[in-house]
Symmetry: C2
Subunit: 254 residues, 2 copies
Amino acid sequence: MKVKVIKIGGKLIENGDVLSSLCDSLASLDEKFVLVHGGGVMGSHLAEQLGVEVKMHEGRRITDAATLDIAVMAYAGLANKRVVTALQKRGVNACGLSGCDMAVVKSKRREVKDIDWGFVGDVDKANGEVLAMLIEKGITPVVSPITFSAEGELLNTNADSVASAVAVGLADYMDVELVFTLDKAGVLLDVDDPQSLIAKITPSLYAELKAENKIHSGMIPKIDNAYKTIDAGVCAVRITSPDNLSGGTVVVKE
Amino acid sequence: MKVKVIKIGGKLIENGDVLSSLCDSLASLDEKFVLVHGGGVMGSHLAEQLGVEVKMHEGRRITDAATLDIAVMAYAGLANKRVVTALQKRGVNACGLSGCDMAVVKSKRREVKDIDWGFVGDVDKANGEVLAMLIEKGITPVVSPITFSAEGELLNTNADSVASAVAVGLADYMDVELVFTLDKAGVLLDVDDPQSLIAKITPSLYAELKAENKIHSGMIPKIDNAYKTIDAGVCAVRITSPDNLSGGTVVVKE
């Protein structure tokens, strides 16, 4: 069975019209899919309303106990249930899940070294078996970036990493394409020119583009991570805009 | 297969020690179970922190759009995920669900008559088939009182009604006991004397107690509702305290 694991940013959920249009696209996909969503914007808004200070270190958020509660409310609660109802309304039998639910995504609390990141998790692994069972029953998992540790702590986790782990976990059971959405058409030779889209990246083309300095430095970790998930069993990784879920750039082994 | 559908109030979730002790009891149950939780207190606290006025009419809450978002965050988010992780930590493979997830509990938005209650749902029905499927796979559903309508609206719903609907829905597939927890030992002849507990209520005893005015008026709707769910297929309804989930008062047909 073919399945797409699609990562979307939290920004797409906050605006009702944007969410509607995204869910129209999702509902019309030919393949089964799993959706993994972020939620950063909704968390920041709620923190602001509650007067909880957003603490950052080198551009990354520190999650104290109050911030964790906010993340759980905003991501596992509001964002997740809004997406699920929008999909249900369109006939997609969605099921919202956070990492703790059926132990779908386990993580480890990040070790304290120079800095204590608080309740932040680094993904350990996703339970592909239970996700595959749901998909085979016609259910569409909608996964929030709230995970949990073996110690029973809820943890705030990077949604890209959750999506990668879900894709790798499912790859033991299905043919998985991992889709990252962004506000560009895909990987572009010229970031200001959508016509410069690279439709397909292979390892040899990737080496060439890097050698010739033709690839935007921000894309390099994304493509490196794409190859890591492909090495772990995922068939392909697509980098595209949310309105073109079968287009954009596809990263493949050959 | 035997299953308990257990309703707990939101008050039991807010305090970590109380929740721990409840989850210890739940994890040591012999039967499989479904947990249905409220969350009123957590919603009220969040509303207060956010400066959203709690609007009431005749003692019942009116749910405007801002209040609905708060309910979704507090009940489907924080309360639900706290219970799920506390159970997972004890080896119970819990899965948090709101009504929208796999369309587990559908409701209808309450009609506007004299008063517009806003985003409040009256339960239509619970999907016993999908709940039974999860239970048979060793999964313990943890259901929040956020439901959804055919129109794709999230709705705030009475948790007792959700628990009754879940019990009735499951009764087509399993032998169901519905358990309501409260801060008394069960149905008491004298509300101030725990020794006056009635261990078992049958229709003939119930008629007698009512005729002799020996039953507290607040218990009458609870027992009437218990007999409605029994008529709809549930084996028994238990009214007890959360620390004695197989004790208290059991309401049966004979």
